[in-house]
C-alpha cells in the first residue's frame, strides 16, 4: 500500500529537511515541470488526475486552476490554506510539521501552472512547530534556487511568504482568508467574482488546501493513471484520515481513498475503548452530519459519504460514544460555531447563538417540547442558500443529524428535566 504523502516523514516527528527531501526525489517534479512542461500541461495533468480538494469542499483542483485568466498583466497569487481550525481536524499539521518541502514543491509547481508571481502559506497561529519548519523550509528553498528569480535557470520566478494568523475559524473560508491577508476582518466576500479572477488585492488568486498541494509533485512525477490507481474508488489518490474520541488508538493515517468507516475505526483506530460503545461519528470534522453504526460499511470517499447523507469533509472523524451526551456534544459544536461566526450576515449572527441557547437549556433541564421544533426550524433557516457563506449551513449539519439519530436523547432531557448522562459537562 503506497503512502506517497507521508512515507518520508520521520517516525520521530521531526521534519524532513531539504537535503533529506532531495535524497528521496524531492524537487525532481519541479525540475521536470519547468523543463518539460508548459504551464497549461501541468494544469491539464492535474485536471485529468481529477484531484479533488482535501480541505473539505472537494472541488476539482485542476478545474479551479483553469478559471484563472492567463493573459492578464500584473501579479497573480497562489495561497496554501494552512489554517486548519475545523474542530476534530488535525491532518494538515502532520504534513506541515513532517514534510514542509513537499508542500513548497507542490506550491511552486501550482504557481507555475497558473503563472503566479507571489505565494503565501496562511498558517494558523497555534501551529508553532509548523511555523518554525515552514520558515526554515522557505529560507532553504530560496538558498537552493527553488524560489526567487529565474527558478532553476528557467524564466519562471516566484516569491513566497509565510503568514501566521491570529486565530479565527473564518480565516479558513477562501474569501475571508483573502480579506485577512489584506489586513482586514476575516469576513467572506460575495461571489462572483470568484477569487480565481479577482482575489487577493483584486488579482487572480488560487487558494488550495495543504494536503491538496502536497499531491502536485507526485502527480507530475507519476502521472494521472498512477494517482487513480492508489484509490479503491473513483476519487483518486490516498487520503489522510483521522479518528479522535474514545477509541483505543486515536491518530491519523494515510490510506487509499474509499476505505470503509469500519476499517478506519476497527483496524486503524483499534476499536472503541473498553466499556464504551460506538454511537456515531462526524466523518469529516465538526461541520459534517453524523453517521451511525448503520453506516459502518460506507466508503469514505466524496460520493460514498454523500450518499450516506453526510460529507467526507476533511476526512478526520470525531467519534461519539455511549457515555457522552449527544445533546452536550452538539451543544459544544454550536457554541464553537456561534462564537466563530463573523457576524457579517444576520441568520448566522443571530441564529447560531439562539441555537446554542436552546441546547444549553436542554442540557440544564429547562428545555421544552417546542424546543425541538425550534431547533428543526433553525436547521432550515440557517441551511444552504440562506446565509452568506457555508459556516452556518455547516453548523447545522451535526445538529440536524443529531435530531434525526439521537432524538430519544433530546426527548429524555425534556422529560426528565436534566441531562441523563452521568458525566454531564457543558
Amino acid at each position: 500500500m503506497e503512502r506517497p504523502l507521508t512515507q518520508h516523514i520521520p517516525e520521530n516527528g521531526a521534519a524532513l529537511h531539504l537535503r533529506e527531501y532531495e535524497a528521496v526525489g524531492g524537487y525532481t517534479a519541479l525540475r521536470k515541470a519547468l523543463r518539460d512542461m508548459e504551464p497549461a500541461q501541468v494544469g491539464a495533468l492535474v485536471k485529468d488526475a481529477n484531484l479533488k480538494g482535501r480541505g473539505g469542499a472537494g472541488f476539482a483542483t485542476g478545474v479551479k486552476w483553469s478559471f484563472v485568466p492567463m493573459n492578464v498583466p500584473g501579479p497573480k497569487y497562489l495561497i496554501a490554506n494552512a489554517d486548519e481550525m475545523e474542530p476534530g481536524t488535525f491532518k494538515d499539521r502532520w504534513l506541515l510539521e513532517g514534510n514542509p518541502h513537499q508542500l513548497l514543491e507542490g506550491m511552486i509547481i501550482a504557481a507555475y501552472a497558473i503563472q503566479a508571481t507571489d505565494a503565501f502559506v496562511f498558517l494558523r497561529w497555534a501551529y508553532k512547530d509548523a511555523a518554525r519548519e515552514m520558515r526554515r523550509a522557505i529560507a532553504d528553498a530560496y538558498t537552493a534556487g527553488y524560489l526567487g528569480k529565474n527558478i532553476l535557470g528557467s524564466a519562471f520566478s516566484l516569491e513566497m511568504q509565510l503568514h501566521t494568523g491570529v486565530g479565527r475559524y473564518m480565516c479558513g473560508e477562501e474569501t475571508a482568508l483573502l480579506n485577512s491577508l489584506e489586513g482586514k476582518r476575516a469576513t467572506p466576500r460575495a461571489k462572483p467574482p470568484f477569487p480565481q479572477v479577482s482575489g487577493l488585492f483584486g488579482k487572480p488568486t488560487i487558494v488550495n488546501n495543504v494536503e491538496t498541494l502536497s499531491w502536485i509533485s507526485h502527480i507530475v512525477n507519476n502521472g494521472e493513471a498512477w494517482f487513480k490507481s492508489l484509490s479503491y474508488t473513483a476519487d483518486g489518490g490516498t487520503k489522510i484520515y483521522g479518528v479522535s474520541g474514545r477509541v483505543n488508538k486515536p491518530g491519523a493515517w494515510e490510506l487509499p481513498m474509499g476505505i470503509t468507516m469500519r476499517e478506519l475505526l476497527e483496524e486503524h483506530a483499534g476499536g472503541m475503548r473498553n466499556g464504551y460503545r460506538f454511537r456515531g461519528a462526524l466523518p469529516g470534522g465538526a461541520s459534517t452530519d453524523f453517521l451511525t453504526d448503520a453506516h459502518l460499511d460506507v466508503k469514505m470517499d466524496f460520493a460514498g459519504v454523500a450518499a450516506a447523507g453526510s460529507r467526507l469533509g476533511t476526512g478526520t472523524m470525531v467519534v461519539l460514544d455511549d457515555h457522552t451526551c449527544p445533546v452536550g456534544f452538539v451543544h459544544n459544536l454550536e457554541h464553537f460555531f456561534a462564537q466563530e461566526s463573523c457576524g457579517f450576515c444576520t441568520p448566522c449572527r443571530e441564529g447560531l447563538p439562539w441555537t446554542e441557547k436552546i441546547l444549553w437549556s436542554l442540557e440544564n433541564g429547562t428545555g421544552e417540547p417546542a424546543d425541538l421544533e425550534l431547533l428543526e426550524r433553525h436547521t432550515k433557516l440557517l441551511g444552504p442558500g440562506n446565509t452568506f457563506c457555508a459556516l452556518a449551513p455547516g453548523a447545522m449539519e451535526p445538529l440536524q443529524s443529531a435530531l434525526k439519530y439521537f432524538r430519544e436523547d433530546f426527548e429524555q432531557h425534556i422529560k426528565e428535566k436534566k441531562c441523563p448522562y452521568a458525566h454531564h459537562q457543558h
Binding site: 486548519e84 481550525m85 475545523e86 474542530p87 476534530g88 481536524t89 488535525f90 494538515d92 499539521r93 494558523r124 497561529w125 497555534a126 501551529y127 508553532k128 512547530d129 511568504q161 501566521t164 494568523g165 491570529v166 486565530g167 479565527r168 475559524y169 485577512s180 491577508l181 489584506e182 489586513g183 482586514k184 476582518r185 476575516a186 488585492f201 483521522g242 479518528v243 479522535s244 474520541g245 474514545r246 486515536p250 491518530g251 491519523a252 462526524l282 465538526a286 478526520t316 470525531v318 467519534v319 461519539l320 460514544d321 457522552t324 452536550g328 456534544f329 459544544n332 459544536l333 457554541h335 464553537f336 462564537q339 466563530e340 463573523c342 458525566h423 459537562q425 457543558h426
Partner: protein
C-alpha cells in the same frame, strides 16, 4: 507612542505589502509581541502610522481571538474547548484550572502570572485534551498533571 523597535518592525512590514492597510494585522501582532496586549493608545498609534481610522484598526483588533485588547498575564493559558477535547474531558481540566488559579475564563491571576482563555481547536485532537501555555503545547493531559505543568511558568 510606538517604540523605535515597533516602528522599525512595522516599517519593514509596510515594505512587504502593496497598500498600507494590509499591514494592519502584522502591526497589531508586533505591538502585542512587545507589550503583551494592545491598548487604545497603541490602536491610535497604529492607525496614524497606517493612515487608517482608529475605529478601523480597532475593528480588526477586536475581530481576532488572539489580539488582546486588555492586559494579560505573563503567561497565557489557552485551554482547547473543541469537540474532541470535550469528549475526552476538558471540562474537568477547566474546573481544576479554576480551582488552582482562582480565576475564570478571561481573567488574570492577582500576581499577573496567568491569564486563562478558552481556545477553539488546537488541532491535536488525537491527543485530547490539550492546552497551550505561551508557545508550549501540552497533550493528553490528566487533571493531576496540571500543577506540575503550571510550576514551569513564573
Amino acid at each position: 507612542m510606538l517604540s523605535a523597535i515597533e516602528i522599525e518592525k512595522i516599517t519593514h512590514e509596510l515594505q512587504q505589502v502593496p497598500v498600507k492597510k494590509a499591514a494592519c494585522i502584522e502591526a497589531l501582532k508586533i505591538v502585542q509581541q512587545e507589550r503583551r496586549w494592545v491598548s487604545d493608545e497603541s490602536v491610535a498609534d497604529i492607525a496614524a502610522m497606517l493612515e487608517m481610522s482608529t475605529a478601523e484598526v480597532d475593528s480588526v483588533a477586536t475581530f481576532y481571538n488572539l489580539i488582546f485588547r486588555q492586559p494579560v498575564g505573563r503567561h497565557v493559558i489557552l485551554l482547547c474547548d473543541s469537540i474532541s477535547c470535550y469528549v475526552m474531558g476538558y471540562t474537568v481540566l477547566r474546573q481544576r484550572l479554576h480551582e488552582i488559579l482562582l480565576i475564570g475564563y478571561g481573567q488574570t491571576t492577582a500576581d499577573e502570572r496567568f491569564t486563562l482563555l478558552p481556545n477553539a481547536c488546537l488541532g491535536t485532537c488525537d491527543h485530547a485534551p490539550a492546552l497551550m501555555i505561551d508557545d508550549d503545547l501540552y497533550r493528553d493531559i490528566q487533571p493531576a498533571d496540571l500543577e506540575q505543568i503550571l510550576e514551569k511558568y513564573h
